[in-house]
């Protein structure tokens, strides 16, 4: 099979992984050195496909042959799809070629399970080793961690990769049992635990060495030796009946227990040869979007999952989770922006983290006026009922939440129907 045909098949097979991030890597440069590639912590989206998703990395499977039969997966062994396999050298060639043309910032390599978990993991590592050692590639590398593989191999993978990820896919034991019978939640967790230990140990060592904050140029200090971009995972949304509350609680636990950098949510997309029991519907994109918003509130704004969704069920689709929280906590508002704690200002719908920082800064110079919120480009229509400034107090501060919600809701967004 020609390289171009393999690429066509193995990129198609890899698109179900939502992550394409190239962020969080240490500063590396190839100036004045042999080899190729740089990274700066800031991710770059080199293109966007018409689905609105960022193309930052060459995201392919090494092979889509697979021994497993995960029901939600297009590559499961019972699926009648074209199969292909790259040699490690072919992946290297594509990565370097695309990188030089500035269409990617690195590689995200995953694979179906062939022969054994160990063998598969070794193949992935081989690609990373060729890139890093033979070609001195300093771009981004994200490797999939095969949970069942020998811990020694995960250890080795982390020394080449910027990021490792083991996918949870389904957050509960029962759904995993039904839809991915060969996978074990325990094994996935222990792989995550091992990766976390590796990262913690490397970070500790780096802190010990570093007398300066981690922005210095010293390459030794800049490159913790184990997955410096952290680890991530993915959960599928809408393949079964698992609700948002379960998904968010699992995410929160994963963040706490394994210090994940990111949890990705992947709306289940219809696949060919759909097994019975899986939805034949458009991917629930809006639901996925709300989950990302809630996830961001948990990671960045100090919200707990239980605050955002106290009861079993899903997040509201018609309003974002921060506004939903504010509407059920009217006693906190309206909030005086000239007095409130920064952490509380961050809970005002329509005010982002950057603006919180700027408002707190501004308070040191003078009192905050309503005009400042406009200048800072906060979402005025949304925040109006929730804030007090030197010259402003909401007229609708007393209005009841149901009416307020109605007023703040754009025309009902419907889940898009396909056919």
């Amino acid at each position: 099979m020609e390289l171009i045909d393999k690429l066509s098949i193995l990129a198609d097979a890899a698109k179900y992984d939502a992550s394409c991030a190239s962020s969080g890597a240490p500063n590396r440069s190839s100036r004045g050195k042999a080899g190729l590639g740089a990274s700066s912590g800031m991710g770059i989206c080199h293109s966007f496909t018409p689905d609105g998703r960022c193309v930052s990395l060459l995201k392919v499977l090494l092979t889509n042959f697979c021994l497993y039969d995960c029901q939600y997966c297009i590559n499961r062994r019972s699926s009648n799809i074209p199969r292909a396999r790259f040699t490690p050298e072919e992946v290297v060639r594509l990565t370097l070629s695309f990188y030089r043309r500035n269409t990617i910032s690195g590689l995200f390599l995953s694979s179906g399970i062939i022969r054994s978990s160990d063998y598969t993991m070794e193949q992935l590592i081989q690609v990373a080793r060729l890139l890093r050692e033979t070609h001195q590639f300093r771009g981004y590398i994200h490797l999939k961690a095969i949970p069942e593989a020998d811990p020694r191999l995960l250890e080795e993978a982390g020394r080449y990769a910027d990021r490792l990820s083991a996918n949870i896919e389904l957050p509960t034991l029962t759904s995993l049992k039904t839809l991915a019978p060969e996978k074990q939640l325990g094994t996935i967790h222990s792989a995550m635990g091992q990766i976390r230990q590796g990262i913690d140990a490397a970070n500790d060592a780096a802190t010990q060495e570093a007398k300066h904050p981690p922005r210095s140029d010293n390459p030794k200090r800049m490159a913790p030796r184990y997955a410096p971009g952290g680890q991530s995972t993915q959960m599928i949304v809408g393949a079964d009946t698992t609700d948002d509350r379960t998904i968010l609680q699992s995410a929160e636990q994963l963040y706490q227990r394994f210090r994940l950098k990111r949890v990705y949510y992947s709306a289940f997309s219809p696949i060919p040869e759909r097994p019975a029991g899986l939805p034949q519907a458009a991917p629930p994109l809006l639901r996925e979007h709300r989950l990302y918003q809630a996830d961001f509130l948990i990671r960045g704004y100090g919200f707990a999952a239980a605050e955002l969704l106290g009861k079993p069920g899903n997040l509201a689709l018609d309003i974002d989770p921060k506004l939903a929280w504010a509407l059920t906590h009217r006693d906190t508002f309206p909030l005086d922006l000239n007095r409130a704690e920064p952490a509380l200002i961050a809970r005002v719908p329509g005010i982002g983290l950057r603006s919180v920082q700027r408002l707190v800064e501004l308070r040191r110079h003078r009192r905050i006026r309503f005009q400042d919120l406009i200048a800072l480009r906060c979402r005025i229509e949304i925040l109006r009922p929730f804030v007090v400034t030197q010259d402003y107090r909401p007229a609708d501060g007393q209005r009841d939440s149901a009416r307020l919600r109605q007023q703040l809701t754009a025309p009902q967004p419907a889940q898009m129907a396909l056919w």
Partner: protein, 324 residues
Amino acid sequence: MTLASSTPWVVPAADFGQWRDAARRLLQAGVPPAAVIWEDAREVQEDLFASAEAGAIRLPEPSVPPPPVRIAREDLALLERASRYRCGEGEQGRWALLYRVMWRLHQGERAAIHAADVDGRVLHQRHHAVKREAHHMHAFLRFYRDDTDGDEADARGAKRASGGEEFHAREDYQSVEESKASFIAWFEPAHDVLELGAEHFADRLGSNPFLIATPRGGVAWNGEQLDYRTPCPPAWAARARAAQTAGEDSEHALWRTYFVSTFNPARLNHRVMTQHMPQRFWRHLSEGDLIPELEARARHGGRRLAQEASVGERKGKTLPPARR
């Protein structure tokens, strides 16, 4: 009114360094913003640019002893970035804005550089636009192999750009060792971010030489140094544009294949895509012409599945369960 403020000082500046030197002198002489007319020598003709460099600018004498002018390092960086913003019709000139902010800071008005201030707000918006455009350049610039060097390539590029000479793909194309190859790109930045792009690509490509041509300036990297030219030599521009359209770098065919396959038609979302990748960049992307086609296919039934249609048409294969 003093004499100094009744006849305004006319001060041209072609870059941030020139502005900074002039601004320091003006501040030390106590000249308020209203008494300075800044000329943007980046926007005017070459010869005027030259006269500014020749030191023909008249500046006031500072008061003795000259008061120190201080600014926080990060604020200076903010001013520098914001000065790269290309002002549109009716927008205030870059140097005048910078000087007013500087003047107010010098008067002890710390809020002048804050994003909620009347001037600070504009400054931050410009800074944001510049940052975004530099990011666009890092993201959407495309390099092509530039196999022939120097004069020959320039002549070839010029010829091809003028519509002559058909090109035949070189057979040894891939056999040329890529780690030593030269690359070339054409890019049309909306703000003055060429330097920010060039530095970034020097980090990325290391020992691979490259050349970037834009409608205003150009830069060449030889693996060790950056060589800036303003304006961009016409031969560079012709070569860069020709490389983009000639289609001789066959690796871009692989990239296009990847782009098609990684797209998920079931998630079609035109609005989000154009939000992140404005349409003005499409025609310079090697995958740009694929976008309308992919969207059309998705709208006409392709959305039913996430799989790329051409992959689905290939012969499939199921696998036996593992022996346990």
